[in-house]
Symmetry: C2
Subunit: 232 residues, 2 copies
DNA sequence: TTCCTCATTTGACATATATCAATTTCGATA
DNA sequence: TATCGAAATTGATATATGTCAAATGAGGAA
């Protein structure tokens, strides 16, 4: 792993408290690979041999059943994914594919489990990370069950606006068809949902979004920190 | 806490590996309370002061937004709930209410966090438990996004059948209106869904379910271990 | 038992969302 | 710039699900 990536990974919440020698051991056993876009990295049901870290590019986590597919999350640098499967030594529940050309670090799951047992700081970080992941999925499930697709889209836009710095104009981070799948709707329905938000001051031009009436949109979306705050 | 409950709690995955003195310390600081049915134990958004353990009775976890409410899970003895909030010292994402007269143990969250730092076995168990919870919610989210309400019901019945011992006859563990909410539909729609499963050999009489044609139902439901196996 | 309350079921209807087919738009690349 | 293929949009329609009101049924209390 290159020095620059090395320190970026070290800075992750998951790794920033652990002892140097343990971090070094993890990194020594890891592989760094470049993948072209649209490469399937892991397939749900496979055994979890590696903890993955997205160093650059982007990775989509998705799930399939009975010929249907749904986007579950997008992982952007620098982040790990499938920690839970790694820890439990259980099969992956989601598949992963690169969305762009991506650089991925792979840490053998058994190394992660071994150092977890050695390093209480690492253990503490893993717990914190897992609790965070758990809460993220719960928030997602709440959104799915409590909101209509229009409301989910409206709140997604408000969250994205904040991530983008809070200005009234920002760019969608993923293709619309993936966004549709992530929000639990069809691309056609997403297109109509965007139209439906015009009445609340949302202007769409390609992937550029303009929120012309912040209050109006928020009044409709009713963002809730227990669903939409992705930082606790 | 009475001796019998004491050992039942000790037997939980979360507590069975930790050192005696640490377990004792947790129990010494804990409270055990009896609650009548329909008592709100925690409200989403509150700070997480206690890890809860259902000793007897039953507790529903539910979420609310904008005047709507959805049942997220039912917790039965002997199990803990809201571990993630406790660990992160973050506000509860879900509310909890007793469904029946229930006996609940409360362990101060700060004690849990303190002993987590002391006892590596406890830490290991917490990680395992959190990973398990995470995977459970991911499975739930997959079901919500990939299946229709009829398919969710069919698979719920198959899971419940297994939990009940695998016989062709069993009893629903919760009221139908709560089941409807848990499965993400209205009570009316659940009623119609039960009718819709008649064609696959599902007979309903009150809360008693009879699966008269196992193969037929399974062929329709297509249970998948990556969604329906709640043991890994 | 009888009554009362509340869950459940049913029917009619409204709304939300999906599907299918046909354009249109966009973006990569020759 | 021109072209190609995929993504996005649109319209028409089908299906799924929700809502409302009424009827039925089950269980507890007197």
């Amino acid at each position: 792993m290159s020095e620059s990536h090395f320190s970026d990974v070290r800075a992750l919440n998951l790794f920033n408290l652990m002892q140097d020698e343990n971090f070094d051991a993890l990194m020594r056993g890891s592989y760094v690979l470049n993948f072209p876009p649209q490469t399937e990295l892991i397939r749900e049901g496979d055994s979890s041999d590696f903890l993955h870290i997205v160093l650059s590019g982007a990775v989509e986590l998705f799930a399939s059943w009975n010929g249907r597919e749904s986007s579950m999350a997008t992982v952007r640098p620098i982040s790990t994914f499938i920690l839970a499967a790694t820890i439990k030594d259980a099969p992956y529940l989601m598949s992963a594919r690169t969305l762009e050309k991506s650089r991925i670090a792979l840490i053998p799951s058994q190394d992660v489990r071994a150092i977890f047992d050695e390093d209480p700081y690492f253990a503490r970080s893993i717990v914190s990370e897992l609790a965070f992941c758990y809460r993220t999925v719960v928030k997602n499930a709440k959104g799915l069950k409590l909101r209509t697709s229009l409301e989910r889209l409206a709140n997604f836009l408000l969250r994205q606006q904040i991530r983008s710095g809070g200005g009234s104009e920002f760019v969608l981070p993923i293709e619309k068809r993936r966004l549709a799948s992530f929000l639990g709707m069809t691309p056609e329905n997403l297109s109509r949902a965007f139209k439906g938000l015009r009445g609340y001051g949302v202007l769409v031009s390609g992937s550029k979004i303009t929120i012309s009436d912040q209050d109006d949109l928020e009044k409709f979306a009713k963002p809730d920190r227990l669903i939409d705050d992705h930082f606790s």
